[in-house]
Every structure is written in C-alpha cells, then in structure tokens.
Point group: C3
Chain length 138, copies 3
C-alpha cells in the first residue's frame, strides 16, 4: 500500500464555527491519484471535532444550538472551578463528537452523499489555527 | 496493500430505524479473503449514522428514546423555520453520532465483542434506500 | 501495505472510568516501525467507547458529569424493565460516542495535539477487562 498525506491549515473564529473541509480533502485526494481506498480526516487538539453534515447555514445553526443546549458554554464545570478555564464545554463536546472520520474512495471520488460534506467543528471560545491531517490509503 | 470494496443496499423505514449490518460486513470480508487488516463502514447521506451496539430490541428502543429526548423530532429548528424541513433533527443527530467506524480484522474475523454489532441508524422521517460502503484494507 | 497489530489489555473499574491509552498505542506504533500511515484504535464490547480528550482530572470529571446528566445511570430504560439490566445507560452512551478512532502517523509519530490523548471510556457499572485492538496501516 501507499499512504499519501496532506495537511489543511484552517483559521477559525472558534465558538462552534463549522468549516467545510470537502474541497480541501478532494484536493489532497486528486494529488494522491488514488482510485480506490480510504481517506482519513483527523483534527489535532482537544477542543475541535471532525464529522459530516449538510453544510448549510440552517443545519449549522441547528447543530450549534443543540450542542449549546446539551453542553452549554456556561455551566458548572470542574475545569472552570479548578483552572479558571472558559472553554471547558469545548473539551466535552469534542470528546463526544470525536476527532476523526474515514471516508471511502471509489473511482477517484469521495463516497459522500449528495448533501453531505466533511466538516471541522471548532468548539473553542477563541480564534484558533487548526491543522487537519488527511491520509489517503490505498 | 489492497483495498477490497463492497456496498450494502439497505431499505429502511427511517424514524430512527436501526439495522444490523454485521452479516453484510462479514460477507464482504469473506469475499475479500483478508486475514489481517481493517474494515471501514461508511454511510453516505446526512441523516443517517453508523456505530456499534448490542442489536437487541430493548437496546434499540433505549437508544431511540434517549436521542428523541436529547434531539427531539419536534423542536424549534432553523431548518424548519427557513426551509420547512421536517427532518431537521435527523441532521443534528447524524452529525453527532457520525457516519463511519473502523473495525479491526484478525485471523479473518471482525474484532467485535460478543454482544456488539455494526449498525446503521436511519434518522430520517421517511423510508430511505441507503448505500453503506464497506472497504477492507490489508 | 502491511498491517501491524497489537492489543492492549486494560483493567477498569467501570462507572465511566477513563483510561489514557496513548502510551500503549505509541508502544505498538514503535514496534511496527511505521513512519507514515494510520493507527486504528477499537474497543470490543457494547458498553465502552474510544475517543480523544485532554487526559486531565478536571476534564475527565466534566465529561463524566455531562454524560451522567444527558444519559443518566438511573432512568426509565426498556433494558431495565425487560431484562433487569443495571447498565442500560452504558450501551446508549457507548453507541453515541463510538467504538473507534483513526489517528494519523507522520514521521513515526502520532498526529495528536499537544493536549490530546487517546482514551478508553468504560461506561459499564462494574469492573471489566477490556481488549483494545491497535492496527497500524502503512
């Protein structure tokens, strides 16, 4: 096998910002010239996550609102009590959603649904520079 | 390496229906004749997810009930306000649970626990035809 | 390609115990002598999950507290009604968080963030012996 590697550098404003990574992943895939295999997408850091969704403003707003309801920015967190952290919620959300997905490649194309994009969700409460690692296996 | 590919076509009734994919994945694995490697299971679409669970009616009922409590079918969603969508909740649930898992293969067998099955969860609010991509890497 | 395999045997006390797997994964990676590739981490069983987080006591406490609030140990579960199960919540939490992640390897190193560890979360309500499968693909 070969592993082909690419990295995406993403600036985010944090606070639940959701960034569409699909074109970036496709670009790494094209460079790799892989026809059949697997793409792994992984974000380094404990306050961001990778998943898929329809990248649409209303979907983005709903995902953000639900996560704020389930794991609020302001609540009684041990991290806040102990270390005065203002982004405690971000670590909890990131660990539930998870840092990685794998997407199949068939005939040189990502096996996504028509309305399905690969996204980075940055839960931190401040702007961040994120590195997303793209590995193409074949 | 080789990548061996199979696709499962699954009819679901939506509304949180959970389908056991384990036999389908095993069938692709047998065809691949891979002894040691990895199986990736991925569902295309933004209203379904792939995970593992004990595929038992009571577990299925509990997972459905908890997700309905946390992310209700009927709530105040931007997608509903803006686009009259009735399946807004489905996109939120799918993005939290996630579209893909990877399962190890050792000595030609899936590395699942005894009471652990690979499942598709279809959150959409209507019947759907789903395609699940199985990639065996070795 | 080659697939290199390792297994970690982990004793946990259950009840949401979170175990740092990073050193164990690194040890399998070193043995594999892989420079560029992918590591898959998977836990067998339907009451445990694998994800990443900052492995810090306050983060661990917050993740445990949020999951207890969202999916309480004691609630009205069908598994309890039907089968007298005391760990119904554990299956629900595990299916939401998920059993597997993939972590990139570049220049022989895991592509984790500085404050990001690979963790096992054991949701069961009693001590368990867990087997975590580590597959290194390259």
């Amino acid at each position: 096998m070969t592993t082909q590697t690419g990295h995406l550098r993403i600036h985010t404003d944090g606070r639940g910002e959701i960034v569409d990574l699909t074109d970036g992943v496709r670009s790494v895939l094209r460079t790799s010239q892989v026809d059949d295999g697997l793409v792994s997408v992984f974000v380094g850091g404990s306050t961001a996550a990778v998943t898929t969704m329809e990248f649409d403003p209303a979907v983005v707003a709903d995902v953000q609102a639900v996560l704020e309801r389930l794991v609020p920015m302001s609540a009684d967190y041990e991290q806040t009590r102990r270390d005065n952290r203002t982004n405690a919620y971000a670590r909890v959300r990131a660990s539930i959603v998870g840092p990685s997905i794998t997407v199949p490649v068939t005939a040189g194309r990502l096996g996504l649904g028509t309305w399905q994009q690969i996204v980075l969700v940055d839960f931190d409460d401040r702007p961040r520079e994120r590195t997303v690692a793209i590995h193409v296996l074949s």
